[in-house]
Symmetry: none
Subunit: 224 residues, 2 copies
Amino acid sequence: MNDVLVVDDDPHILKALKITLHAHGYTVVTAHDGESALQCAARHPFGVIVLDLGLPDIDGTTVITRLRQWSRVPVLVLSARHGSDDKVKALDAGADDYVTKPFGLDELLARLRAVQRRSIQADEAPVVRTASFTVDLAMRRVTRNGKDVRLTPTEWGILEILVRNPEKLITQHQLLTEIWGAAYTKEANYLRVYMAQLRRKLEPEPGNPRHFMTEAGIGYRFQP
Amino acid sequence: MNDVLVVDDDPHILKALKITLHAHGYTVVTAHDGESALQCAARHPFGVIVLDLGLPDIDGTTVITRLRQWSRVPVLVLSARHGSDDKVKALDAGADDYVTKPFGLDELLARLRAVQRRSIQADEAPVVRTASFTVDLAMRRVTRNGKDVRLTPTEWGILEILVRNPEKLITQHQLLTEIWGAAYTKEANYLRVYMAQLRRKLEPEPGNPRHFMTEAGIGYRFQP
DNA sequence: ACGGATCTTGACGCCGTCTTAACGTGCGCG
DNA sequence: CGCGCACGTTAAGACGGCGTCAAGATCCGT
């Protein structure tokens, strides 16, 4: 859902936005008029659409209206016009935000984040599922076979770090400093104790871990 | 859900907004600083909050951050500062839109409509029922076995935050800062006293709580 | 000013969590 | 083959948080 569709008839702005957004981790698709923008949006589900109001073929507000007949994708409008009439029309047509040129790129990025955050919240909670248990980061809750699993604060701390970095190797040093503080980097024993408890509570076979893998001498890795 | 909370320290702007919004069908409540705004928001579910960044007591961005710890109500920020740094901070803290003064009233109204339209899907039932009691957030009333239960202001404050976030774990820190203020984050004792009172008034078995669960070392969770 | 409700504060026993240590196991390396 | 290292497992004691109660202190309406 990090795909963004940028619609503008000015090739310079288009190129600048494409480069900037790409540099910030977005996958960018561009369109230069309203019709192709609508077709693009219909063919591919974007996380957000950046739309210039001054398009050669159809009015930008019309684009929003037609888009809103079947899609709820967040739309951020760009415009050179400062007239509040245009803003009102675009927003009431279904736009989610409105930025007038010239604009700061960091402001645009912040508004993009704000607009996207809302649509994500409306859609789904940050939940991580595995074959044997489910972790709900927002609710701070772990479920296994439909039953809640009771975790102590330390257990949850470790689980959260691992689960937020799936497939990624987390060093013992990282875990120890994050949970206990920088003074405890030598207490690898703590990790062994708590990893054993986590596995006993969450793994189908605590002796043969499938989700909490240990990399000897380095750290641990969470496998969804 | 047409209630709007307007937060501004300038009484003239406050009055002007109140009149204008009221003329357009909104029910308006006003606050003149950050603390009272947060308390207002905790006691009454608003459809949208209009927040000026320049408040006398706490930074507007901080208000948003604290509000976002337990509420998803749409927030529209007003500010005299054109600097994009302020915009970025406010938006990333969780604001939904940002308008710089001076602004057109019709633009503000349009942005209000846009912000509210998005949150419609997320709107919540104002009354929460459990097996043993019923909470009406709008009426500020708790019923048990058909009888009204009398709650003190503090008891209600805690209950409301918990009930507005069903299933979700609320940290002691969140509760203490929202009810007593940021200076009381060490007084976990208060929570124990009031949780005991809430359970005595609402739980079938205060000793074996079924709805107000405590997560040792972290906080509390409301179970409908 | 008075009285009741509400909030603050302290003390106590209980229980869960953390810490720590000891022991067993598997693996690599000399 | 045996030694050492890292890891897994377990258990016991220390520690701190939690629930509970009750006694002041404070707020508020009459």
